[in-house]
Symmetry: D2
Subunit: 369 residues, 4 copies
């Protein structure tokens, strides 16, 4: 393989325009055609190329506006009362990064939405509040801060907060932009609210203990039967692992949320992860295909993304575009930091498009610009 | 489920602009955010929505221009000497339909290209000529008219025509637009030509007989080990099946090219099919997610796509966008017609996005506009 | 299908001996051959046929003898100091039922065995003691009463009890008889003890929390990466499920131990389950292919197996042969009973041999003989 | 690992009998128990151990007796008119080798059997005749000499010969002994003959061309949809491969019959292979777990099995037990020899029990005793 990435070499288009060629191109254009060599170098880049930029959304800036939405519109009017975060370069597709959408939803005690479903998949990471719940295909799931909850594609879902709870704020993650781009999205509204078919939290009761599954239930859906991943179980496991495992120099203690029936991603098109950066951790840089949206679940630190530093603390949200160099640092010397993230890795992996590369210069750390 | 597709109902965004809201939207915008309900109905369509239009490219119109390219540029200058076909609504991404690229490549006797590879997958359907060949990862494969040949993602490949052959013209199909959109494409040039590691056509010799595979070879690639699907075997099988099988009212005799190791699609991101429309066949309409590019391999007929009629004969190329109603008709009462097609069904299926719908009105036939 | 199970019908061998035939049989015999019709009805039974009988081993009877073994032989002499339980009809293959072996192993504080491995798979269910541990492929796993531990096929393993612990007694389950019958068993001794490569209990630390797995470890073994299934997690989950789930009329609350990477059985050839029979539970009878060995982990009750009643309490062991009618009853009206079991279901399922049948007469309960 | 296979070492049972122990053993026996160390070394062999011996059945010896059966009994009386071949050491289970059954069936023109089914799987390799057919789940399949045909487990099947055909003789292969040993066999007779649901040979018409499968049929059975593997296609493919491939020094040109939907074995419990030994081929020895029954389909040669030479010609049948050294030789210097074989490799592979070993001494060739 030739590592020279110049377009002035055999194997790349190197045709000079001539009057004859220009006339030829016009003839082609009339027929809905073109000469490949006029676009080839552009549509066949040497390396993966993202159209997104890294961005950081500080919760301190956003929180008031999020809460204010609950005064301006009702869930009935809004469908869902959400402030969505949009990448400066992806406004045309309402994406936070790549083909991933994210938003912050607020629900007040006693409020609930009607049910709907769509081909896009959805997930939530809980930021604030008490008494929140979601109903997925007739299964009511209650949640608490830092719990991770899924609402898979084409599953009926609705959310609410108990009348005796406290205002709940959570992050939504969806792949609406991807499913729209793939020209496959759809939408349906449920006639009223779903009937609750099984006892509350039946899903985590049956699938929430590692290594046992109900012997007399058949699960044949293409997503995880475990709908809630409780922080009360996940966080102690991270702490335990941070004591037992060798720390990954790039990612610290890095766990994927997984489907207990497959060991694979929780949904067909989006994955999610939780990672712990030990006190003082200074991660090395790498890049990979696939887009990531992060939320700091605990602690504080900063990430260097393509040479720019982004400082984050609990509840801040930031994104890393495909093939962008990135490294994560814990800013504290005595407290661990935890990062939740979601991604489109299932798409990359299933389509054979995943690749990664370590940053080898400078002991693995980028120069900050 | 409520089948009413009006946006004026519970579950859809129905917020009226007010001065307070407009001020609010400006505040959000400054922070890289927005109110979901201002875009929700647009980004959550009721049904799959394609940005492509149906198109037909007549070979009679294009052939001279394709051949002319061989006088205007050399393969060395052009990289590949290809006239590509572009959808009127997808010029920004150089796609023929959806995220699929197609082009017509011409190679003269004695010409050959240098080798390269990319994350996008590629396939060819042979239209004219003699003595053509492709080299895939060191395997030389010769081909003839109506043969179907694959060059999977990240496989080194190069093409040529024997000095004693006749000018070869073939259709290329790639998913360059998709892999670019997914921000995962790459490109590498080989330093010269590949060395030929195994005897010519070793792949079809080993994997080209149904029901036997080499017991002492391990195949662990995510694509078909059978690189060539010979018309000399495929066509008689179609004829036999047309006599033995009940004819599918939508698709006639419809076969997927498949990976003999999995029964699945030949490559990770693109599938291909061959279908025979018996003499006088008048197919019923349906629609589905996933984009298709067709080439007529034999005979003549027409397709009704979203109510427009497109007449095709051998070597004509046309496309059907995602979720477009379409039906195929054989225009002859005594000769069968054969349609080759390629598609992005592997993407739809792996991501859980495939759905289809039959056209039930009017005995399954659209009104032609 | 004809439900008449008489051999006197078309489709069964019904040949009467004649002098000519008897002469013919002798000729065949000389050539290492025979006439199929002389054995067909015998080797093609109408229904699955087991050569085992139901048996119950009372721990009260056995415990003293098990402990006594620790006075009679050392682990060094015995290899492993185990009292094995043998079915009256399977003494030739040392099986407790079908092709499953089980035994009771005793290890005193400070004792440990040398490491070995074999193609047969092994598992343990802990009955008594403190400070016990196993080492599997360099992973040290500590265990407590009612923990379930696996030592998969061809994994190096050794066991011991801390010098400060208490004498440990556990049940071993292996498929030695099966792997011998399949003519595939082997055995190797490790030169001394294994080196401990990772921190104690690293396996349950990494794979013991439902719904998360290490993102940076690759697991490609054909068995569970979770080697210990702790009673301290399993029992509360059973209790929770017994409150949330509809109780299965045959099996109560019935959970399979599973591989968290697949949702399937923990090892390639043996599965294991834990079930809770609620207070007063009176299970209905069914039968299925596959052999089961049970140990009562908690409470007391009885099982009716092929019409015979077997009363069991904590630590008693009993077996149910393939295709034997069986039903389980909790003998207490206010305490739940728990049954651990292991089985050869992976074999039945992978080979397409599993089938089951409910006992429909008499409201699902057998007559006790 | 310690390669010393003596039982006089740590890790093996080395207990000397004493009066106290003998008394102890008697106490255990009364309780249905025993001391593991009294049987451990026997039930845990160092290497796989087969209870079968190699055997060769010469067709010249058997053919007359096979034909004679058609004079002695009718298909109606016999169920199936078959001479079965039985291993000298496996008479108790009617097996030819290991857990595999084989027999030679004869059917005269105009004869046909009634339909039945069983949990055991079955296959046929055609030896002589014209006009033979089988009906599998309503699919009528005609066959010719050297065709390979499957009748998967639990599929209804029946056989016959057209009234205008010639007496057909074929080899049956079944895993009746295995399924009996696994206590899972069953049997049912069909009430009369099956109705033929689809045109003759519809299965090979749809699935018999490599690389294409019907796009509009769903196949969800755990066995191959291709029921017949025609010699007219297989043999030319073997010849082509023998010219293109490097010849395997152990197996010559070695192909597995496979399920075109999976690339795996044709049925759940039995596999089959066809191999070509080029003229003058002198194969090297190896051994592996899994039992094989061979039939010479063409040519002549000999095999050395565990140091004994067995000479075979077309239609002769021989067996190789699990873990027996074996090597195959073509006795002709100008004609290829072809060996059909069937085996229990699916069982070995699915249960993780397959292993193999090359014979490295003496340039890979055994000394003949």
């Amino acid at each position: 393989m030739n590592e020279n990435h110049s377009d002035d070499q055999i194997g790349r288009a190197r045709v000079q325009d001539t009057p004859a060629l220009e006339a030829y191109y016009k003839e082609l254009e009339k027929l809905g055609a073109g000469a490949l060599w006029t676009v080839a170098n552009d549509i066949e880049p040497w390396e993966p190329r993202s159209s997104s930029v890294p961005m950081l959304w500080k919760y301190d800036d956003l929180r008031d506006l999020v809460v204010k939405s609950s005064e301006l519109v009702t869930p009935e009017q809004a469908g869902r009362r959400v402030v969505y975060l949009v990448n400066d370069k992806r406004k045309d597709v309402s994406a936070a990064v790549g083909w991933l959408y994210t938003g912050i939803q607020v629900t007040r005690p006693g409020e609930s939405t009607s049910a709907h479903r769509h081909k896009a998949s959805a997930l939530r990471f809980i930021m604030e509040g008490e008494g929140g719940y979601t109903v997925v295909n007739g299964n009511k799931i209650t949640f608490e801060v830092n719990d991770f909850v899924i609402t898979p594609n084409s599953a009926w879902h609705e959310h609410g907060v108990d009348v005796n709870g406290k205002t709940c704020i959570w992050q939504d993650g969806l792949d609406i932009p991807l499913v729209n781009a793939l020209e496959a999205n759809d939408y349906a509204v449920y006639d009223g609210k779903q009937s609750i078919d099984v006892p509350v939290n039946n899903s985590p009761i049956n699938y929430g203990t590692a290594g046992i599954i109900p012997a007399d239930k058949i699960w044949d859906e293409p997503f995880s039967p475990l709908f809630k991943f409780s922080w009360s179980k996940v966080y102690p496991a991270l702490i335990e692992a941070s004591k037992s495992n060798e720390i990954n120099p790039v990612d610290g203690v890095f766990m994927h949320y997984c489907n207990p029936m497959t060991g694979g991603h929780v949904m067909q098109t989006m994955g999610a992860s939780i990672q712990l950066l030990p006190a003082g951790f200074s991660g090395k840089a790498h890049k990979h295909t696939g887009s990531f949206v992060y939320q700091c679940a605990k602690g504080k630190g900063y990430s260097i993304i393509n040479g720019q530093r982004y400082d984050w603390a609990a509840r801040d949200i930031f994104c890393v575009p495909s093939w962008a160099w990135h490294e994560h640092h814990n800013a504290s010397d005595n407290e661990e930091a935890c990062l939740f993230s979601f991604n489109d890795l299932p798409v990359m992996e299933k389509l054979g498009l995943y690749q990664e590369k370590d940053f080898v210069e400078n002991n693995g750390h980028q120069e900050v610009q």
